[in-house]
């Protein structure tokens, strides 16, 4: 399994992660080695009948559907990078790289 520099860039874009150009060769090499290692599970004929295993309770319990105040010691204004009038502040939504405007 070999991952190219362009594939790393594409995946980084999907993951919303800025990656330094200088780091791309090393990242491609490390990802290739990790993916080659984990791909060994494909050598096992896992039966399709193996039910996916998820630990924990079989069913999610319901709670009473009541509106309760969030039990926070302080509000988001304290921990958010920028907050005003009940909203998180971010730069203006711009055009995406492919030219599509965010809806």
């Amino acid at each position: 399994m070999s991952v190219t520099r362009d594939e790393v860039l594409k995946i980084a874009q999907l993951a919303e992660l800025e990656v330094d150009d200088a780091m791309l060769p090393a990242l491609a090499e490390q990802m290739s080695s990790i993916l080659a290692y984990v791909a060994q599970i494909n050598s096992v004929p896992a039966s399709e009948s193996a039910r996916p295993f998820i630990p924990g309770p079989d069913a999610v319990r319901f709670r009473p559907d009541e509106v309760k105040p969030a039990p926070l010691a302080f509000g988001p204004a304290v921990f958010a990078p920028a907050f005003q009038d009940g909203f998180f502040l971010v730069p203006k939504l711009g055009q995406f790289e492919d030219g599509e405007a965010e809806g």
């Binding site: 992660l17 990242l27 990802m31 791909a39 998820i54 988001p76 920028a82």
Partner: protein, 462 residues
Amino acid sequence: MSDPSESLASAKAVADRVIKAKRLNACLTPPKELRASLAQQAQAAHHSGVLYGMPVAVKDNICTLEFTTSCGSKILGGFRSPFEATAVARLKAAGALIAGKTNCDEFGMGSSTEHSAYGRTVHPTDKARVPGGSSGGSAALVAAGAVPAALGSETGGSVRQPASLCGVVGIKPTYGRVSRYGLVAFGSSLDQIGVLGRSVHDAARVLSVISGRDPRDATCEDRDPLRLPTVPESLQGFVIGIPKEYFPPDLDPGVRRACDRAIRLLRELGAAVREVSLPHTAHAVPTYYIVAPAEASSNLARYDGARYGPRFDGSADVRSLYRRTRGEGFGPEVRRRILVGTYVLSSGYYDAYYRKAQQMRALIAQDFRHVFDRGVDLLFTPTTPTPAFKAGEKLSDPVAMYLSDIFTVTANLAGLPALSLPIGRIKGLPIGGQFLGQAFLEDEMLEAAYALERVVPATEEA
């Protein structure tokens, strides 16, 4: 100790011990803040609580109101949680003192505590070596005698592996035994809060207090808190399985000797010991390193510079704000795992990686069910393939680092309880032995650990 001046003196002594261990870089809380908080906590502590006055350090990925919760990451630098974890609230209700936040691999991703944005933690007996990870700060503080117990968290062995490398006890409870509310999510189907302690009893006492139902975590089972067993006279009636896949021919000879000695002692205690097989063990690490990064890539999507922690600004629009913040805020191991996780979940690769890993996970869990259905009560294995390794030794080779989890990831994949306790030393370095138990039968696992702990020469060369 209801006298206020006595409480304050005790809080000062706790702070002194933690601060004295500063050279380990195990505690991330600044000394002044630690002293002030401990003094305040000591005065407010519940006198009648079962852990009254007991200092318990808390891994930096578990939310506390007293201290910041950075998860060892720049992206949450200085983050103060507006709520505390259920486990922390229960410790405080039982009278325990929260003795600072401990260093860890960023978001729990690592096996050496070298992947922390706040510098590596040093092994307590050899500064050139790592304490293991990701709960390396918790393990090092307990091993240095600064605190009798600490909270850690496990996704693939992050409590048991550092416990083994530092010579302390580490318990990973059954998935659903302890609430995950307030534990910063890494791999939600694998994560559990665990306990490190200087003895089985110290760790078990803390586990008992933090366990039990919690309506704030839908994956927490509707069960009473764990009841502690008494120390047994013998292990008569116990059937202990030795899975042959955990003793490969190339196992470190010192680790093998220590395990052989522990197995002989288990027999002398009256347990019936028999060899068993868990045939899919060899595929546990590759399975884990698909499932965990996949879940991490989803869980860590929330760190975008809009809602928490610092923002790496100067961006023209919101999307570049996300990318810059994440690119600069996450360290190299977290970036790698997000990329691998995104890759294995992406269209065209999902079936070959993620779906296949889910099938393997089912087979690994089935291996354990088969063994336990045939009359085996517990399994005994090495916790780690080697003692503590040198700092930097595995940093440039992620797969080599992942292999240090080879004996621990299975319990997380299968959701089972497991415990590591010191069973000897190899050239002066501690090594742990591991009990793997049946779901929600931590009491049986603790009984065996109590019994072995009393007789094993844990500080002697194997």
